[in-house]
Symmetry: C2
Subunit: 257 residues, 2 copies
């Protein structure tokens, strides 16, 4: 597993360098499901780079990835989950606050995850039997504080409609932030800068964070507090296990009203 993890760390950095080398070119932005659901030529090229390198080194492994139709289930065999560029709208409009994500599973067990904030040059890696680090620095486990001392992050649409009580929860904490990228929100949780992140996500959006968070005391669960299915788009939150009950009380109560 060590050599696979080293391979993954080198590969995610190559992907990041590829993005930096090509992001000033015409991105050929295309609309997917709606005018705010974008894909660029770099999402596709970076995914091709990652999938190609993985399968040439590990031809028996399987892939679940955002672009195209690679949809292996993480439950069976050796499976890589890939998001070539998370935060594509930030990438297109801001050229920052996006990330490359990879996660590796064996028969449903997360072995390691990687989130690479390309522009900041910060690579979050580890999980499973590996320590969780930002670059070479060990990250600290979650520390309990009063709810009102924490910032949270969420999805602007859910905030506008108070869906699942997100707006209510935001009034019980120090404030709510909207960063437009699951990866960027998750690494702020891993860094102790946010308590929770609440939104709708696909498996490639949360796979890496779910593995990275575990040994630091975090879980990624549905908004009902259930395990994720790693197959469909679900309402999701990443939170510290020690404060799950307190956070959940806001979400669950509001959902019932």
């Amino acid at each position: 597993m060590e050599s696979k993890f080293e391979f993954a760390k080198e590969l995610v950095k190559r992907a990041g360098q590829y993005i930096l080398d090509h992001m000033q070119e015409d991105l050929r932005v295309e609309i997917k499901s709606s005018p705010t659901d974008l894909v660029t030529k770099l999402d596709k090229e970076v995914q091709e780079l990652l999938v190609g390198e993985i399968l040439s080194r590990y031809p028996e492994d399987k892939i679940c990835a955002e672009e195209g139709c690679l949809r292996a289930s993480v439950q069976e065999g050796r499976v890589w989950v890939i998001d070539p560029i998370d935060g594509t709208n930030n990438f297109v409009a801001q050229q920052e606050d996006f990330a490359v994500m990879m996660a590796y599973f064996e028969n449903g067990q997360g072995q390691f995850g990687l989130i690479y904030d390309v522009v900041k040059g910060d690579c979050y890696h580890g999980g499973g039997k590996f320590p969780v680090c930002r670059n070479d620095q060990l990250l600290a486990p979650f520390k309990v504080k009063p709810l009102g001392d924490f910032l949270i992050a969420g999805n602007s649409g859910m905030l506008e409609t108070n869906e699942w009580g997100l707006a209510d929860l935001s009034r019980a904490v120090l404030g709510v932030r909207v960063y437009g990228s699951a990866a960027i929100s998750f690494v702020k949780i891993l860094s102790g800068r946010l308590l929770t992140y609440i939104t709708y996500l696909q498996p490639w959006d949360y796979a890496a964070a779910s593995i990275l968070g575990e040994s630091l005391g975090y879980r990624v669960v549905t908004l009902s507090g259930q395990p994720l299915d790693f197959q469909t788009r679900q309402p999701v939150m990443m939170l510290p296990l020690e404060m799950q009950e307190e956070i959940q009380s806001y979400i669950y109560e509001r959902k019932r009203t």
Copy 2:
């Protein structure tokens, strides 16, 4: 004026270094008007440092500053407007995404502004007769694109209630972000990463940005499109003059309904 501008650039960096040197200490966080309106010992110490240095070098100048009761009007004489730490909640909870801001006026005319993103090490400076730069790099003037290609930023409370139509505007653009700091939002506009930023602000929150934005094609105005009073807390937006009418059409229409 050149020497005053050079003095200001050196001073804002000294303030930033002071914050970096002391931010790991006990911040002695206090509540001001509400549990989410915080002030730390560093807000106060940094303001003292800035005011002390300005008045020892320019004893005739006057000050308008966030903490305490220095409230000179920018309309008369030589006046410095100071926000020692903008984004105090980010500073306390995240130790990033905050900034030091200073602006200098003579008889109501903005001469230069400075916004220093301390953790990133990015100093935005210029305005008046000085070119607008990030560190040593000239910033580009605003370039028109379709509304739907832009991200905007706003205040989460206004988004929740669709106050002034912020939620409606957010649905007409590529997306809305909430960063929790006026300074951080403004420098993203100056960098071409956001179209507009809509919130309620005090003079020390917008003074520097209003001077910095002017030669790049931006204005800071009230949500009715009027000049700011530089005295009270007002509903405010920074926007490109070339797209003011289009943005204003969302704000004004919704305000009337």
